[in-house]
């Protein structure tokens, strides 16, 4: 084994320039892939983080029938007790309660259909990205009752500003029409039209009263996780805690399917693009490996004549390819990993490219994009490249079996 590696290693350096060019081609293709994929992963994580904090957490508990026909009467009972038990689960950093409903917001300037979201102000202030996106007035606070925050687009449409009156109309749990007068406490702007034009947030206790839910019933309980990657374990643990068969415990992907689909699609297309780039660079490598074998046909014929098994020579070609692949992978991981790590720490302001207001699936994208490097990403991409480079040597290896020793040595 040691000799095989020695011969392979020295053989590579017989044509130093070619080896360096090949390693560089692999390295730079991988570096680009590492950087782009890490930036994408960072964006997805940030997007998921913001969406889950603004909505119902990484793991959501709601009535089993709510997804099919959202209505306030499909609520989760004994919310306080459940939250207490769920909050103790390993990996859960916090819980939140929401009441979601549909309604109409009316002012002297007109009426607009809106999404009503009743939230716990003290928890939302600490977790929801909306709290950081206030452009006028203030976010809801503990003790608030008949107060609401609205998006800037909705405020513009209904000519609202902090202190102005707003009538919210909806149907309660019994199906009766209810109307409540509230005052605008603040205006937020996320950059997402779906949020800024239609979302109205009110305090949870006010929302529960208005919709006739009572003090301990909510439409959603959300669990915020310390590490979103732990959600499978938390899901299982939460399902074990919840005894009520009417309560479903769902991952965020089922609660915000548009966002999950977007990420799956974007990640897939990103990987395909990077895959094509690496695949194209593999053509260069394939050609190089094949050339290096064809150039050494006589040398291989001599070794076969001496009694070397064709498998041993194939192993040598494979080892040479893997060494080139490993060199390229190491170069790529360093060259791509360092800037990606820098972007993870400092972030990259993408507003010059995409403007200040970019939203995906109704959620505003933070234009300061931080990459997300992980061992899985580095090992996965590096391993894939090494394996792909190894695979490119298969044809060259096949040629060894076709060497006619006597013809070559004649």
């Amino acid at each position: 084994m040691g000799t095989l590696i020695t011969i392979s290693w020295r053989s590579l350096w017989r044509n130093r320039r070619r080896t360096l060019i090949t390693v560089s081609a692999i390295g730079f293709a991988l570096a680009f892939a590492v950087f782009v994929v890490a930036m994408g992963e960072g964006m997805y994580s940030r997007l998921v983080d913001q969406a889950t904090r603004q909505q119902a957490g990484h793991v959501t508990l709601e009535h089993r029938g709510y997804r099919d026909a959202p209505a306030v009467d499909l609520a989760v009972a004994r919310a306080t007790e459940l939250r207490r038990a769920l909050g103790r689960l390993e990996g859960v950093s916090g819980t939140k309660a929401l009441v979601l409903g549909q309604g109409i917001a009316k002012s002297g300037a007109g009426a607009v259909g809106v999404a009503l979201m009743a939230v716990e102000p003290e928890i939302e202030a600490a977790t929801s990205p909306l709290a950081d996106r206030m452009v006028a007035g203030a976010f809801l606070a503990a003790g608030d009752q008949r107060q609401a925050i609205v998006g800037r687009a909705l405020a513009d449409r209904l000519k609202l500003s902090p202190g102005k009156k707003l009538v919210l109309a909806s149907t309660d749990v019994s199906g009766a029409l209810v109307e409540e007068l509230v005052r605008v406490k603040g205006v937020f702007a996320t950059g997402a039209e779906e949020v800024d034009g239609y979302l109205v947030q009110v305090p949870l206790t006010f929302g529960q009263q208005m919709l006739g839910l009572g003090a301990d019933r909510v439409t959603q309980i959300g669990l915020l996780l310390e590490d979103p990657d732990d959600r499978a374990a938390v899901l299982a643990a939460a399902r074990a805690v919840v005894a009520d068969p009417d309560v479903a415990v769902l991952p965020w992907e089922e609660v915000i399917p548009d966002l999950a689909s977007y990420i799956t699609l974007d990640r897939g297309s990103n990987l395909v693009f990077q895959g094509i780039l690496i695949f194209l660079s593999l053509f260069t490598i394939f050609n190089t490996i094949l050339m290096s074998v064809l150039e050494r046909t006589r040398e291989f014929a001599v070794l076969l004549a001496l009694g070397t098994s064709p498998w041993r020579l194939r192993a040598q070609v494979l080892t040479e390819s893997l060494l080139v692949g490993l060199g390229g992978a190491a170069l790529g991981l360093v060259v791509g990993g360092i800037p990606a790590l820098a972007m993870q720490i400092y972030g990259l302001d993408m507003s010059a490219l995409a403007g200040d207001n970019l939203s995906i699936s109704g959620f505003a994208v933070d234009m300061r994009v931080h990459s997300e490097l992980s061992a899985e990403l580095l090992v996965g991409l590096g391993g894939l490249v090494v394996a792909a480079v190894g695979a490119t040597s298969l044809l060259a290896m096949r040629r060894i079996g076709r060497i006619k020793i006597a013809n070559v040595l004649r």
């Binding site: 020295r10 006597a406 004649r410």
Partner: protein, 229 residues
């Protein structure tokens, strides 16, 4: 006593551009163990083809070849490979050393393929390189050696595993007469002292005169067989 090589009515034909070329035509011969024999003949007479068939590098169109009583025609490519590894040493006209290995590593190559332990091969190769007059040059790469020195390494490689037979195709063709003569001295002494059978080909009359037996080929057939004049 079983001859080390037995060739019986061997014919070898090659197809070239739709034309069949007969390289060997009904060759029959035997070579005893311990022989120091040469194959002579002009270019195209079939010398290399005969050596290739004897070593199992090529298969005859008709006829049969035995090595140490074992018929090569019945062996698979892998079995032939093992026979070459264990029983035959090769010396080529162009030396054909592996350029990425040092003199010692080249000489050690066949032993390594045979799975001989490292310590044992190192000791054996050190002795061999001293025997072929290359002591002190063990760590030199082929490009750092003269043609004669490279051919000596090739001989060390050929005899390292103590094969029954060493086949040398024009071993002195690329060497000056003095170096070529020294190489033949070395081969002859290995033949005498270690009993290794040598079968080599050459055009050079001076070289051929050194053989104890001279097989002359002409147009693919044996034209003469006996002691050189």
């Amino acid at each position: 006593m079983t001859p080390i090589i037995r060739v019986e009515d061997v014919t070898k034909e090659y197809g070239q551009n739709g034309i069949t070329v007969r390289a060997l035509a009904g060759v029959t011969l035997e070579l005893a163990a311990g022989a120091f024999a040469a194959v002579a003949g002009p270019s195209g007479s079939g010398k290399t083809t005969l050596l290739n068939l004897v070593s199992g590098l090529d298969r005859p169109t008709s006829g049969r070849v035995w090595l140490e009583g074992r018929e090569l025609g019945g062996l698979s490519a892998a079995e032939l490979s093992r026979v070459r590894l264990r029983r035959i040493g090769f010396v080529f006209q162009d030396y054909n050393l592996l350029p990425v290995l040092t003199a010692a590593e080249n000489a050690e190559y066949v032993l390594m393929m045979q799975g001989v332990p490292k310590k044992q091969r190192r000791e054996r190769v050190r002795e061999l390189l001293a025997l072929v007059g290359l002591a002190g040059l063990e760590r030199r790469f082929p490009r750092e050696l003269s043609g004669g020195q490279q051919q000596r390494v090739a001989i060390a490689r050929a005899i390292a595993a103590e094969p029954a037979l060493v086949l040398a195709d024009e071993p002195t063709a690329n060497l000056d007469s003095k170096t070529g003569g020294a190489l033949l001295d070395l081969m002859a002494s290995l033949n005498q002292e270690k009993g290794i059978t040598f079968l080599f080909s050459s055009h050079d009359q001076a070289v051929l005169q050194r053989a104890k037996r001279l097989i002359t080929l002409k147009d693919g057939a044996i034209d003469g067989d006996g002691a050189p004049h």
